[in-house]
């Protein structure tokens, strides 16, 4: 029998193209990644901006999650408990900008792309604007949960007692289709973060989602019921069935809401039916 510590995590994700993009022939502009480490998991989702100016936002989103994964993994390697959120943010921003600059150098904007991007926006240089994206990332270990976000989207935490929270502070500027972005000149100022340790950690389920997921629910208070449903699934069903269900559920959201929809779920392995069976406990 494999012995697992209580704080070990599982994770999986899925991403589905929105109905609006399918209709217009645009690609999925979301991205996600999950990186496992001996001490924890790093996960990230990103939503490349829609709109005609953001001609390479699909790439911007992919670069964002890749940089987030690399940066988060380095933080786990450094064994700092927990990492400094501000320092990690700076590393992510610098890494993304370097990645974009390198891509532009190797693949300059075409004339049509330059025309689409237009003159420099008040908030971002032209090259970075083309790659504009949000980013949500978490680094979770047995000792802490580090949550970092710029732009819209959701990071939601649930505990086995049914409590559901959103520890990352809101940003009132993310309203009416407006969102802060990695492409902004002063983007570091717009990051929000939360560090969970002690009594507030570990959580039992963590959800990262691009805004297409939450926006597809009719009820603006969708988080509570949704997270309790996920808790119930993780405690009563095999993890594989939940993982198989996720892309099906996201397809429903993408069809209903029209937007690209991406979710990553992290769950404490001790919750799971299969985990409890393996360890000789639970009702199975």
């Amino acid at each position: 029998m494999v012995t697992r510590t209580e704080a070990e995590w599982g994770a999986f994700g899925a991403s589905v193209t929105g109905a609006a993009h399918e209709q217009s022939g645009l690609p999925n502009q979301d991205a996600f990644t999950i990186r496992r480490h001996r001490d924890g998991i790093v996960a990230a989702v990103a939503d490349g901006h829609g709109g005609s100016r953001f001609v390479r936002s699909q790439l911007g989103a992919r670069f964002a999650v890749e940089v987030a994964a690399r940066t988060g993994t380095a933080a786990l390697e450094s064994d700092t408990a927990p990492p400094d959120a501000s320092a990690l943010t700076t590393q992510v921003v610098d890494g993304w900008r370097d990645r974009v600059a390198g891509h532009v150098a190797a693949h300059p904007l075409t004339a049509s792309e330059v025309a689409a991007v237009g003159d420099r926006a008040a908030s971002a240089p032209q090259e970075r604007l083309a790659y504009g994206t949000t980013l949500l990332m978490v680094v979770v270990t047995r000792r802490y949960g580090l949550l970092v976000q710029i732009g819209d989207g959701d990071i939601v935490i649930a505990h086995a007692d049914g409590s559901v929270t959103t520890p990352v502070p809101d940003d009132g500027r993310n309203i009416a289709s407006h969102t802060t972005s990695l492409c902004m000149d002063d983007t570091e100022r717009h990051f929000r973060s939360a560090v969970l340790t002690g009594g507030g950690w570990p959580a039992d389920v963590v959800l990262l989602a691009t805004d297409g997921y939450g926006n597809a629910f009719v009820d603006p208070l969708w988080r509570e019921q949704t997270m309790r449903d996920y808790l119930r699934l993780f405690t009563t069903r095999n993890t594989s069935s939940v993982e198989a269900g996720l892309p099906v559920w996201l397809a429903d959201s993408a069809a209903a809401g029209g937007d690209d929809t991406t979710v990553v779920l992290l769950h404490r392995l001790s919750l799971g039916v299969d985990e409890r069976q393996e360890c000789g406990g639970g009702d199975g």
């Binding site: 690609p27 969708w222 209903a256 029209g258």
Partner: protein, 240 residues
């Protein structure tokens, strides 16, 4: 592991979807219409009724062709005081137009104050799309326009709303209508659309309604107008 694409898997033995009912985000579209006594001159109120009746199918087409939002229409009429003609957010496919009559003064400020209350209520849902608003008038506000505009601009969504105005005839105060349109967008039209005959009114209201709806449902924070202003709006003789 990572990715940015997904196929639709077969629905075999997957649990029921977590969460509650799904649906499109609401796009709140407001028509704010002048029904003052001067709208009886030269058949203006009949032309306005005809224009609204003609624009509804175009709004339905926008709703059908763009799955990102559900267009919900409300109509506010102002003359001496204001009244909601379509008070509840109504799917455009369910709207049945009943002709408006015209009489009284031009309480445009009160209209904007009333609109501000409705716009602020939308913001309680943090996911709200920017409202789309078209204001139509043939005259001069007879109440405190500045207060009403200030109240609208102070709402959380007021300056994010996509706002256009249509001026009917030569007596319309285009300066106040231009101030209504000004939300700070760099490419905001400097002047309201002008209609000087019934056909121009139909074209103006049609373009304005479709433009604000598309911009509100699909426009990003850095987009230019998605629907360029047509060049034939001013064709035909001026009768107003």
């Amino acid at each position: 592991m990572g990715g940015n694409e997904g196929n639709r898997p077969a629905r075999v033995d997957v649990p029921a979807r977590p969460g509650t009912q799904l649906g499109r985000l609401a796009l709140h579209f407001f028509l704010v219409l002048d029904c003052s006594g001067s709208m009886n001159v030269g058949g203006r109120i009949q032309a306005l009724n005809n224009a609204v009746r003609e624009v509804i199918p175009h709004l339905r087409a926008v709703a059908d062709e763009h799955p990102g939002a559900a267009i919900l229409l409300r109509v506010l009429a102002f003359s001496t005081g204001v009244r909601w003609v379509v008070a509840d957010p109504t799917p455009v496919h369910d709207v049945r137009w009943v002709d408006l009559d015209a009489a009284g003064y031009t309480d445009m400020g009160k209209a904007l104050s009333t609109l501000a209350e409705a716009v602020e209520a939308i913001a309680t849902d943090g996911r709200a799309l920017p409202p789309a608003i078209v204001l139509v008038s043939d005259g001069e506000p007879t109440d405190n326009f500045d207060l009403g505009l200030q109240e609208l601009n102070m709402t959380r969504l007021g300056r994010h709303a996509v706002r256009l105005a249509v001026a009917i005839g030569h007596e319309a105060n285009t300066a106040v209508l231009a101030r209504f349109q000004d939300t700070g967008r760099e490419d905001a039209p400097a002047a309201p659309l002008e209609a000087h005959n019934p056909e121009q009114l139909v074209r103006a209201i049609k373009w304005a309604s479709v433009a604000v709806s598309l911009q509100a449902s699909e426009g990003s924070w850095e987009d230019d107008w998605l629907v360029p202003q047509p060049t034939d709006l001013s064709e035909g003789p001026a009768v107003w």
